[in-house]
């Protein structure tokens, strides 16, 4: 490689390294803003702000879903299966994939009593895909 090309290569590598470093620092600094939602541990520890409109999510604890008499009201416990959980109350239409043991993402306000009052619920599905007849035969990844 001749000298001119070598020099161009060095310049390009430096530009790329500079861009990558800038972006890495920016993302590191903005990490909390890039995160879409608060996990159960952050809600339980008080890191999630109270009284503000936020998103919080985790897994719906099996057996915790209780529907009220109107049919639209529901409350359930969101957990990370590591000892952190919080209660969610919601009135409205749940997404098709909502279910016990499934991922969930709630948008709403965390009250001082630790109850999350959601005005929007979306389902967070996992990365496992399998036909119904294989369920229980194939090990899930987590």
């Amino acid at each position: 490689m001749n000298a001119v090309r070598k020099q161009r290569l060095v310049v390009v590598v430096f530009v790329l390294a500079g861009a990558a470093a800038t972006l890495a620092f920016a993302m590191l600094a903005l990490r909390e803003n890039v995160n879409l939602f608060y996990e159960p541990a952050k809600v339980a520890s008080g890191e999630a702000p109270v009284g503000e409109r936020i998103r919080a999510g985790g897994m719906v604890r099996a057996g915790s879903v209780v529907h009220d008499d109107t049919g639209l009201g529901v409350r359930f416990v969101v957990t990370d299966h590591r000892g952190h959980d919080f209660e969610v109350r919601f009135a409205g239409i749940l997404p098709g994939l909502f279910g016990e043991g499934q991922g969930v993402l709630a948008t709403g306000v965390l009250a001082a009593d630790g109850v999350f009052r959601a005005d929007e619920i979306v389902a967070k599905h996992d990365e496992n895909y399998m036909p119904p007849e294989l369920e229980g035969i194939l090990p899930a990844t987590h």
Binding site: V34, L36, P95, L97, H125, D126, Y129
Partner: protein, 262 residues
């Protein structure tokens, strides 16, 4: 007989020089283009019919997961196209090889279309499963950035009148934009997102049942072939445009005209 490193280097160098010759590429690429169109088309046809009509539904999502057979190959090939464009950008910046620049011009619209398809299918998929078509999480935003990068590669070239200047600017954008690729890949691991983590990781057992993996693999390979064919076709057009004054292009045009005449 084992080839010596020197001989391998010589072969590499020769291929590199040949690839830089528009005439050599134009002469040899026609058969490749048709072959990739036919082979890729057949793969996508088989993979899509298989995936959409014959594999069983997913245990949770039912039939709506079948859009995966379009979504995953589209987004995967789109990122590969970007990586190829970034390498071509590096080659242009260092060696000023005009074929590298023409490759970027030919491939950017293909990447743009694939990324648009990936985002559109993602939105359509999200509506029945997540319960929302769009959230501003790290995965969706970084993929949107990929779309804007492809758009920028197309627009920047048209915004600069002098083609040499445009080629330099486009190549630089192509190289710098490559930092977005690891962000797309790791967005679902570094940050909390609504988008699920990857189902297929290197060195790990896939989280997708093998009955689904076959049509997915066929479609992915087919998308690669079709994208390759589309890029070759666009590149051939660029070559004829750019080399319109060259003798070999005139001869080829005259030959093509004779073949068309009754």
């Amino acid at each position: 007989m084992a080839t010596s490193p020197r001989r391998t280097r010589g072969w590499l160098r020769e291929t590199f020089h040949k690839a830089g010759s528009p005439r050599w590429f134009f002469a040899g690429s026609r058969a490749w283009m048709f072959g990739l169109y036919v082979f890729g088309g057949a793969l996508v046809l088989v993979g899509s019919v298989w995936g959409l009509a014959f594999v069983p539904p997913d245990r949770l999502q039912g039939d709506s997961f079948r859009i995966m057979f379009v979504h995953v190959p589209a987004v995967h090939v789109a990122q590969s196209v970007y990586l190829a464009i970034a390498v071509a950008g590096l080659v242009f910046l260092v060696w000023r090889m005009k074929m590298a620049d023409m490759f970027i011009a030919a491939a950017a619209p293909v990447g743009l279309a694939l990324t648009a398809a990936a985002l559109a299918t993602g939105i359509i998929w999200g509506m029945p499963t997540w319960g929302t078509g769009w959230v501003w999480d790290a995965r969706t935003v970084s993929t949107l950035v990929l779309l804007l990068l492809f758009f920028g590669l197309v627009a920047l070239r048209q915004a600069i009148a002098r083609s040499e200047r445009a080629a330099l600017a486009v190549s630089l954008l192509a190289v710098v934009g490559v930092v977005n690729l690891p962000i797309i890949k790791y967005s679902v691991e570094w940050f909390t997102t609504l988008h699920q983590p990857p189902s297929i990781r290197l060195g790990q057992r896939p989280a997708i049942a093998s009955v689904f993996l076959w049509p997915l693999g066929l479609n992915a390979l087919g998308y690669y072939c079709l994208a390759g064919a589309a890029v070759i076709a666009a590149l051939r057009t660029r070559i004829v445009e750019r080399e319109a004054g060259a003798d070999w292009v005139r001869q080829w045009l005259a030959g093509a005209a004779r073949a068309k005449a009754p």
